[in-house]
Symmetry: C2
Subunit: 504 residues, 2 copies
Amino acid sequence: MAKKTAISPTRAENYPDWYQEVIKAADLAESSPVRGCMIIKPWGYAIWERIQAILDGMLKATGHVNAYFPLLIPLHFMEKEAEHVKGFAKECAVVTHHRLTVDESGRLKPDGQLEEPYIIRPTSETVIGDAFSRWVQSYRDLPVLVNQWANVMRWELRPRLFLRTSEFLWQEGHTAHATPEEGVEETLKVLDLYTDLAEKNLAMPVIKGPKTPGERFPGAVETYTIEAMMQDGRALQAGTSHFLGQNFAKAMGISFQNQEGQQALAWTTSWGVSTRLIGGLIMTHSDDDGLVLPPRVAPTQIMLLPIFHDPDKKDEVRAHADRLLQELRGLNCDGEPLRVELDDSDRRGGEKVWYHIKRGVPVRVEIGPKEVEADSVFVGRRDKAHRDRATLSRADFVQNASRMLSEIQENLLKKAKTLRKESTVTIDSLDDFRDFFTQTHDDARVTGGGFGLAHWNDAAEGNEVLAELKVTPRCVSLDGDQEPGECIFTGKPSRQRVVFAKSY
Amino acid sequence: MAKKTAISPTRAENYPDWYQEVIKAADLAESSPVRGCMIIKPWGYAIWERIQAILDGMLKATGHVNAYFPLLIPLHFMEKEAEHVKGFAKECAVVTHHRLTVDESGRLKPDGQLEEPYIIRPTSETVIGDAFSRWVQSYRDLPVLVNQWANVMRWELRPRLFLRTSEFLWQEGHTAHATPEEGVEETLKVLDLYTDLAEKNLAMPVIKGPKTPGERFPGAVETYTIEAMMQDGRALQAGTSHFLGQNFAKAMGISFQNQEGQQALAWTTSWGVSTRLIGGLIMTHSDDDGLVLPPRVAPTQIMLLPIFHDPDKKDEVRAHADRLLQELRGLNCDGEPLRVELDDSDRRGGEKVWYHIKRGVPVRVEIGPKEVEADSVFVGRRDKAHRDRATLSRADFVQNASRMLSEIQENLLKKAKTLRKESTVTIDSLDDFRDFFTQTHDDARVTGGGFGLAHWNDAAEGNEVLAELKVTPRCVSLDGDQEPGECIFTGKPSRQRVVFAKSY
């Protein structure tokens, strides 16, 4: 069956290549000549700005403040926390010189060797912890609730746009507290914010919960994660929140005088989400026509498309569209002004429509001479098939535009939840586990198998099977009842099921 | 005369040390253990966020879009534009390795040497130009109007917080055009936006105009600047906009098919302002009591200060302040909601008031039992002396709050313009030039001399005198009439006066 689609290959034909083509067709990002680093193009960056605005608002509303810390980290800082350096040593970009000179052959070469090399931050626990050691003297200085929007670098040998790049953009929160209870509370509070960001804004359902010990952040006492399921059944770690105990306080010297007048070490947390969320967004909603954007994070929610073949009609069509633009821009959705644009480019009808389908604009409004005459609009919704369009009176559309966007937002979340439900199973034996992660699916999109919930008692057991199947433990879900059972690898008693999946 | 001040030393006693102390007292930033790099603390970063929001809005309203390009630049990119590399080679941080290992003595050392080193961007003309070479194929692809908010690195041997740091935050705009006229128009359009940012928002008057040839950006055909005068009479380059001609288009291969079907090189521009603006803001307005913030860029415009000695009064004072907070937050100033906060910390009366004076909050509202009873407020304005406070009825204050902020904004600009006028002279002889830049001023604050407007014919002449006096040509003003005259160094005919000054 040769259905015409905008994206080739389709999801069913080749999911990884489909992903790359969606990014290309929507003009979100491209590879750069700098190994493993991407260029985030304007439409992709505008999505990131939406994510930033939403999360930044949440963080400020919960008492966090933004600040900025150095890009470079002195090597001896990295040596202070043993687990931390072990976790990041293999992917550090190292600065060793501070100028260039021209050599005999006329080529540039590094010069001015530094006494101590610096690394480009892969994450900033050490350099921010060092600042906290100066800022925190007394219990009155606590808590410190700081966030930073920044670029970080982790050298990647197999980069994939948005999902895994040597440089990426993120926010990293770092907090210090007087008690472990407050530290854990903060860690979980941010995990809830991340869950809201993902589910209510990206329309991306997530399972939240602690990582198993082997999957913790290097140096953390506990790592909490939100795990999303992509359309191919694989898991994407979409955000993490770490309770660091006193590990970094000890390493960086964050101590304070407590209410009893004694010196004590602070309890710290750190947490982050990154441009990886855009990769998750793409793989959660997009279809064989291209990108699909939930209205909450769409830079443009409604695109007006004046379309006419007869140049004589241009002025009246354009005037009709302009009036509609002004009307819609006066409206709100979720307390924010509607984001409406008008495409007055020279693109011809079909090309113009497909351009915005592929870019994922939630609502397209075609306006031609027929619509001008009938005072109507021809509306396409990105959560429906591209041929499924409806004629509405202009007045009806204006009145319902905001509700239509909310509906699209809900539909996308519902659809993603349905897929996740269909691809999630509870597994009670090693044979079933093997079967689940090696099965051939009816829907060729689901190559990753899905989420398998199985009892696992001991992190030391089962790792060979997991490696062989390329499956990893994602987390223990904090939601839902946990009944005790038997570990599928050892048969020993187990308190809870772990979410297993192939992952990005 | 021992007047009590918040900042020691005063401006008159030691201007450079006063600057550092204002930053410390307002908790804006601090030095870090990373050579030449600063930590921007929450209050300083909040000012930067205000500047970002204002300028980002201006840039988007004029058709620019944001994007993000790699932090690292391949060495061979830098070799492509000879002037450019000459200008930046001495201050480049060089990445030579991509991992760390532990050596025999247990210490970390760089490992995984890169085939080609990278430099951390000091500016991104080359790496963005390389992207443009792929994006631009036809005249239909032009203009490209891209902006990036990013960190950059220029190794500094004598850093000063905000003014000169090895890493700083900025925006860098990069545009490509089909004709030189469009390129020049863009360069000047952005110069006007920068002028509005400085004058209407930072209340910092600037002289705008082209740099003299020796002061141009490395690789530019023409560099335009906005130059502000600090309270010590020195100039601060506050923003620059470069017309790059075809230099970078040639170096990076940005060519396109023009309307006539021929291959042509694009014309490019670049322009930027940075966290240096915060240094300019501090030195333009602050006084011997600390920071002074113009309301447009103040993170908090009005601070409510509940003050009471009798703990029994706490509830009623707090309730009165809360009501006022809600009332004020419903109001707008310049089309934005008023930024009002309430300080419910445990700080005692005088300490609480001084805390916000030093942080530069434009309006302080003290509320105690007396004010509750009279339904009044006790208001202090940061553009007036700290003792100069007034009792207003609550209703009057609420009604006039927005106007009061606008007044403060205007007053600060007026005051800065007056100082600049008083410290600007036209100079017609070399003797007067020498005198002006070596004089002892009645006001010890003005150590830099001020702006001297003198005819200068030939960039090859006078440089020894300038070096001796530590004076540089800042720009040729685009405003005001230019009458021909005689060069003070050579006596030859000169078309226009150049603004000379000592500078930061």
